[in-house]
């Protein structure tokens, strides 16, 4: 309750201070008007602060290209919600407003509370170029009923790669159309998103993708496919469709993120749970992917203060991100309020912990090209064209060329 009062008071102060200014209209581009930034923009516009935000929805696949085209011709919006690996390309070239000083002078935004992963995605050269919308990451979903049926302990899910592989082998049941595990190794950003954590747990990074151990990670993926523990369509299917097979009872485990929770709670007619991504060996390094969007202001906006006031309002509503949108806050110290579904609430705790190990992709302005080399490496191994180490060495060489 006290939080609510604080927030309301805050909203009022923001409203009051900005009301002095003249009426301004800002534009915000996002993938979805019903995502938090869209709803909050609407609320912000309805406040008596003289600022109106026009929200324009752009299909996720076109968001970067459309924005680039608009930026090239000077018709870009004032504000944007952008996928975090794409953030650096804009920030490094001066397209986004450097808000480091505004943040330092803000009573609302405490940028140090942002988790390290998202923090890195919105920074460039130690300057701040936005705030996180939310965060997501991936973990291991598993079908508890199938665990019981196969004689595995549903309260003790796999925690190392060996255990994961063993569980996948035990649970795999081709006669009943059940695969051991479902994930996505597609040649798109989704594939990179899913592969990088395994590489990182083995000691690799995007700029050292052929580090010793990464070949083992790739070999693990390769074993899933070559032994038929995962569908061959893993190579061409996204995460949403792959997890769909888990919900349908055709895969015993699945690797995906919290965005699945809502659908899984209604579709899956079995007992399921979530656990942290298994590590390479007992006590090994943890890692996971970091997804979701950042909010940024374009450097050429006419109303930087009004735009920043919106970012402050967004920040002040962080506690609503989970209960209203089932998205994970990217800010330390924001509790995940219970949703009323025990399975989702249990999963929330796991994802919250997993998020602490989530690492940003990049940041690098050439991220799409780097990502494409990583996809090339795992796809050529999984289709039997190259050995893991050879494929990773070649990818590393090509990535070095991009980096230098």
């Amino acid at each position: 309750m006290s939080r609510f009062i604080a927030t309301s008071a805050l909203a009022l102060t923001i409203g009051a201070s900005a009301a002095m200014a003249q009426d301004v209209t800002l534009t915000l581009w996002t993938e979805s008007a019903t995502a938090p930034e869209g709803i909050f923009a609407q609320e912000f516009s309805e406040m008596d602060n003289g600022i109106t935000i026009d929200v324009r929805e752009i299909r996720f696949d076109d968001l970067v290209t459309d924005t680039l085209r608009a930026f090239a011709t000077g018709t870009n919006p004032d504000l944007i919600a952008i996928d975090n690996p794409d953030h650096a390309a804009f920030a490094s070239r001066g397209a986004f407003l450097d808000i480091t000083d505004m943040v330092a002078g803000s009573d609302v935004i405490e940028i140090d509370r942002v988790f390290p992963g998202p923090r890195s995605s919105l920074s460039w050269d130690d300057r701040i170029f936005g705030i996180p919308r939310a965060s997501n990451t991936i973990a291991l979903y598993y079908n508890k009923d199938m665990f019981r049926a196969a004689g595995l302990d549903p309260d003790n899910p796999p925690s190392t790669w060996d255990e994961l592989l063993a569980a996948a082998r035990t649970l795999n049941d081709p006669a009943n159309n059940v695969y051991g595990i479902a994930f996505s190794a597609r040649a798109s950003e989704e594939g990179t998103f899913q592969f990088l954590p395994w590489a990182q747990m083995a000691g690799g990074t995007f700029d050292n993708i052929n580090a010793e151990g990464v070949a083992d990670a790739l070999e693990l993926w390769n074993t899933f496919l070559s032994e038929g523990l995962a569908s061959p369509d893993t190579l061409t299917r996204g995460q949403w469709d792959s997890t769909g097979t888990f919900n349908g009872g055709n895969a015993a485990m699945a690797i995906s993120g919290p965005w699945e929770l809502g659908r899984m709670a209604s579709d899956a007619d079995f007992d399921w749970g979530v656990t942290l991504l298994p590590v390479r060996a007992e006590g090994g390094e943890r890692a996971s992917a970091l997804g979701d969007f950042n909010l940024a202001i374009f450097a050429n906006t006419d109303h930087p203060d009004a735009a920043f006031a919106y970012l402050e309002y967004f920040w002040s509503q962080a506690h609503r991100i989970w209960p209203e949108f089932t998205r994970m806050p990217a800010i330390e110290g924001v509790e995940l309020a219970p949703t009323g579904d025990a399975r989702i609430d249990a999963a929330a705790a796991v994802f919250a912990e997993q998020l602490r190990y989530a690492r940003n992709r990049g940041p690098h302005p050439e991220w799409p090209r780097i990502s494409q080399r990583i996809q090339g490496a795992f796809q050529s191994v999984l289709t039997g064209q190259e050995e893991p180490q050879a494929a990773l060495d070649r990818a590393a060489e090509e990535i070095d060329e991009i980096l230098n």
Binding site: N177, L235, N250, T383
Partner: protein, 300 residues
């Protein structure tokens, strides 16, 4: 002044105006983009210099890069297989269907119209549809083949590098056949019936009538259908985007998809333009054949 107005109303002035109008339209909306495309294929263009008019020159570096790329050979081979395969099958099936419906049985025109339903669907919709049909574990195609006893275990059409290109090819043949059929049906209906009657009286059998009357009379239509089919196939992008995304491991990447990937996923517009320039050359050659075949048509 009056003379000018006069000639506008009837005579050379009106013709000149028509020519200028169409030429300037072509220049602005087709010529300039084409030339600009050729220009940026010799430049280094990334997203943040896209909006500016002048870009640093890259010489022939983009062209060298493309030809030296390890994907180049696969892409070239895939493009040839995809284009020849699609055009040949679309044409053969389209011609067979056109001949079939030319028998004018009850409802022939009506059913022929229904065949167009596939062709009027947006490419992405067709792509998503075939994506489901061809999926490995629960695809309808596998179910049917299995039911017929043709396969023992599911074929992973999209995910096997050996078959991925053919999964798009199958979808494209299905997509393009109705269009071929309609054009060829129009050509068939233009052949005078009495030619066949005369030939029949002279004792020509069905095959001889097809070979000596139908095919020669259809030459112009066939040229046009094949040229248009080639151009449409070289433009086919949606099906790749929806079914394989050029994968797995680049095994189903064709020139047009590669060009898009370079330009809009890697934001290397220079190298993306190189591929479109090379494709324009191919399309120009095909268009010449098309123009020649329509010329033959007007001479008939």
């Amino acid at each position: 002044m009056r003379r000018v107005l006069q000639s506008m109303r009837d005579g050379i002035g009106f013709d000149t105006m028509l020519v200028i109008l169409t030429l300037s339209y072509l220049l602005v909306f087709a010529g300039l983009p084409l030339i600009y495309n050729v220009v940026i294929s010799f430049q280094t263009v990334d997203v943040f210099s896209l909006g500016t008019l002048m870009h640093p020159s890259a010489g022939v570096e983009n062209y060298v890069d493309i030809f030296e790329d390890r994907q180049a050979e696969t892409v070239l081979r895939n493009t040839i297989i995809f284009t020849l395969g699609s055009v040949a099958l679309q044409f053969t099936l389209g011609f067979a269907l056109a001949l079939f419906f030319h028998q004018n049985f009850t409802g022939a025109t009506w059913i022929r119209g229904l065949f167009l339903a596939g062709w009027v669907m947006p490419g992405l919709v067709v792509g998503v549809l075939w994506n489901w049909l061809l999926s490995g574990d629960f695809g309808v195609v596998n179910y049917v083949l299995d039911g017929l006893g043709l396969i023992d275990e599911p074929v992973f059409w999209r995910s096997n590098p050996e078959t991925s290109l053919y999964s798009v090819l199958i979808a494209n043949v299905w997509y393009g056949t109705p269009f071929n059929m309609i054009l060829l049906a129009v050509g068939l209906s233009q052949i005078p019936e009495d030619l066949y009657e005369a030939a029949e009286l002279d004792g020509a059998n069905a095959f001889q009538r097809f070979w000596t009357i139908t095919l020669p009379m259809m030459r112009a239509t066939i040229g046009a259908v094949i040229a248009l089919g080639t151009i449409f196939t070289l433009q086919q992008f949606d099906l790749f985007a929806a079914i394989t995304q050029g994968g797995p491991a680049g095994s189903s990447t064709v020139a047009q998809y590669w060009s898009w990937e370079l330009s809009f996923r890697e934001f290397d517009f220079g190298r993306g333009a190189v591929i479109s320039v090379l494709m324009i050359i191919v399309v120009l050659i095909v268009s010449l054949i098309y123009v020649r075949s329509t010329k033959a048509e007007t001479q008939l």
